[in-house]
Symmetry: C2
Subunit: 342 residues, 2 copies
Amino acid sequence: MAVTIKDVASAAGVAPSTVSRVIADHPRISPATKKRVKKAMKDMGYHPNVNARSLANRSTQAIGVVMSSSADKALQNPFFPEVLRGISAIAHSLDYSMLLSTGGTDEEMLEGVERMVYGNRVDGIILLYSQINDPVMNFLLEKEFPFTMIGKPFDRVDEITHVDNDNIRGGKEITNHLIELGHDRIAFIGGSTDLVVTLDRLKGYQVALQEAGLPIREDYRVHTEFLKSGGRDAVHQLFSLENPPTGIVIADDLMTIGVINMLEEFGMLVPENISIVSFNNVYLAEVTRPPLTTVDIHIYELGSQAAKCLIEKVRNKDEPAKRIIVPFNIKHRLSTQRNETL
Amino acid sequence: MAVTIKDVASAAGVAPSTVSRVIADHPRISPATKKRVKKAMKDMGYHPNVNARSLANRSTQAIGVVMSSSADKALQNPFFPEVLRGISAIAHSLDYSMLLSTGGTDEEMLEGVERMVYGNRVDGIILLYSQINDPVMNFLLEKEFPFTMIGKPFDRVDEITHVDNDNIRGGKEITNHLIELGHDRIAFIGGSTDLVVTLDRLKGYQVALQEAGLPIREDYRVHTEFLKSGGRDAVHQLFSLENPPTGIVIADDLMTIGVINMLEEFGMLVPENISIVSFNNVYLAEVTRPPLTTVDIHIYELGSQAAKCLIEKVRNKDEPAKRIIVPFNIKHRLSTQRNETL
DNA sequence: TTGAAAGCGCTAACAA
DNA sequence: TTGTTAGCGCTTTCAA
């Protein structure tokens, strides 16, 4: 069928093993034969068969990316393509392929990962989320299969290579921004409490309140799914309170957009009547109305770092567990203003 | 290392080939041995090595998905995760893996595809876009490598299996909606004219105008990149005209969001001052303010159909080229109203 | 520096 | 219905 290593070998007048050595850029090979073989490869349009290669040396030059697509989590969120872009850039530059596995349920996700691992389809895996008690992670840990995660592991933090933002500090700083603007009734809207990222951002929010001597009110905290109905419920819940908040910290830009629309429906204007800050700085945060004051978490970099770590780890089994903190910075835009209700 | 087919064979007291046959669900095998082998597989925790399998029978059980990530095209657009979801569902259900290849430039994309094809990594490929004079497509055609595309091929329409909406009709109907509302100065904003989808939607728009006896004004047509600056320029261009439009047909929801924001910045309200319709019906179209009247193109289905066709084609080389038209329907929401300027 | 040969795990004739 | 055996295309000792 296609041209094989043998064809190249005989064309170049060498043994297949020699050709193999030039492919692998083996050091002990004379420049002369190397050149000759390379020429033959080019002339004949030779391309190594990765399957044969994988079989022989038990490495696939591919990484797996696992994302959840259930309502509450990643998909439909622009976070997602952006992080893929980061992963893809590194993978491509190091000649790795990228397998994607999505699943709606935990079970489907586990199946997908098992296929990748058991089938020897990938050398390592990136988890695009961090969730409490994740069966996928437990599986990987048990099989001692190389993986890195984006986000902070819920436990075993020191054993798991992960890349994350300092979401606690991010939560604190963005909340402080609201406090500095004179807000003292500040609510928090976040996603599922199974997601570590939600917990961390919440924590930061609480620390900021506490340090400012503000009360931490349970009724100012609402957890909701990303999608539409959720935004509505959250807003409804907060604004039926006797003393509704004048500021809200929201854990995700996309949620924020939903919330702002709900607010307007209820006749509340952002930022005139209520100030809002959020997280991620996806593309939309900049073009939506009003443009969002948000924590830029550098999504692309999260992806590229995770890929880099994973590939290091795959290439060197003894690479120690790492923790990479991607710095954030706050984008000040127009969704906040000084609290006039004082 | 891991347990192999030989281990299973000896444990079950049969030959490796027998085990292989039960894996492949070969018809001529006695229920008794089948059961025995299956038990052994389960007991030993056996999982076939896909690489070895690929090597032996030259099929990978994997499909490649190619998307462009350059500014003007897919990424950052929620279209994207949604179509992946559709592909992934089918792939998963038929036990195929999914390789993803992104690239910023045509060249990078071609490289990615070459790696998939030459490396024998996938059995077939889905192109998530249709572009004039696409080197990737030409490569695939030349190699006679199985592929399907989402969107309409620019030429060789009958030779290429593709799944698409009837974008011409969609463009026409959505434009008619504006006409019926009394608008007679209707502009069109679209993406790159290299994309077939842009051309088709534009065509539909023009047909509608023509049939309604309305003039097709060149200065009412602007092409722009999806991203922010683009929206600004487009709006600026249209509203410096002597007779600015009272309605706009925009080829993509995400662009629409940008345009609406620009409009508001210029003091124009949607739909009070100007009516807007667009395409895709991504999640945001529903939650943005105002909710968008848009053509729902059924993105998920585009993905799942493309995957289905591809896998059919991969399994049967002689499968004829198909053309699948996914129906659309118009979601009437709040971005349009009757033209009051008459 | 190079070649010969065994083997990675599986499939697919061909035989029995 | 099942077993035997030769590959699939590549890597990797071991020897030369």
